[in-house]
Point group: C2
Chain length 129, copies 2
Amino acid sequence: MKTTNSKPAAPFAYEGLDRVIHERARLSVLTSLMTHPNGLSFVELKQLCALTDGNLARHLQVLEEDNMVRLTKEADGGRAQTTARITASGRRRYLEYLTILEQVVRDAASVNHEGEENQLRRKLTPLNT
Amino acid sequence: MKTTNSKPAAPFAYEGLDRVIHERARLSVLTSLMTHPNGLSFVELKQLCALTDGNLARHLQVLEEDNMVRLTKEADGGRAQTTARITASGRRRYLEYLTILEQVVRDAASVNHEGEENQLRRKLTPLNT
DNA sequence: GTCTATGCTTTGCGTTACAAAGCAATTCAA
DNA sequence: TTGAATTGCTTTGTAACGCAAAGCATAGAC
């Protein structure tokens, strides 16, 4: 018999950390879009997130393919510009992701009172048989 | 005149998101180690973080090369086992990283009262001429 | 018309994460 | 003692990924 196959003993695995979201550039883009529900233009995003053109384009592509953002070309008199908006499901997934982030912050914060090194072994179950 | 060249206008860039830390597996490992100042064995880490052997080994290697953790082989009667501990500078860098994470959470949270879509344009400076 | 600037897209490359396979040390059975 | 099986990692191979440089097309200035 091997470990009785009980699964839940991986308190630090953070499985909810969606890889599509958990990437600096895309996290930047998505957070920008979360706080700007009316959408942001390509150029605005580029500036807000300090990304290069190619970089932003690639990440927007990934996000669109994964249905996290919607891209629209809007000709406003002059040349068409790309506007990005977060989708409903994108928003939902982002909030889930945030939940995990908060968990990380909480887990880590639980030890910030340095010095007392021995009193926080609670999270680790015995492990030895 | 064009935006007067003031630089700090990339509020969502999150430059402090250290790539070595900002990776699911390593974030798991580091958070585990933060909360276990006495160190954790290879096997314990593997379980806590739900990582495969090869995976954990590789990430520990990266973390050691970057001076975030220290690895020691300790022969405790039987075969030597590897114990990982977070270093002082690792702890410092992790805490810096946490600061940014908290900023992300705060930025995103500032919009969680959905519905009122128009009142949070403060973070974005005009941008249009 | 040509020239420059703007707004993206595409391409190419180095890096990386990941899993499968490998290997060495230990324990156990006979 | 000697195989076989388990444990504790390491190494290797590959596919995916991020990134920047180069490319391209449209718009406006002249």
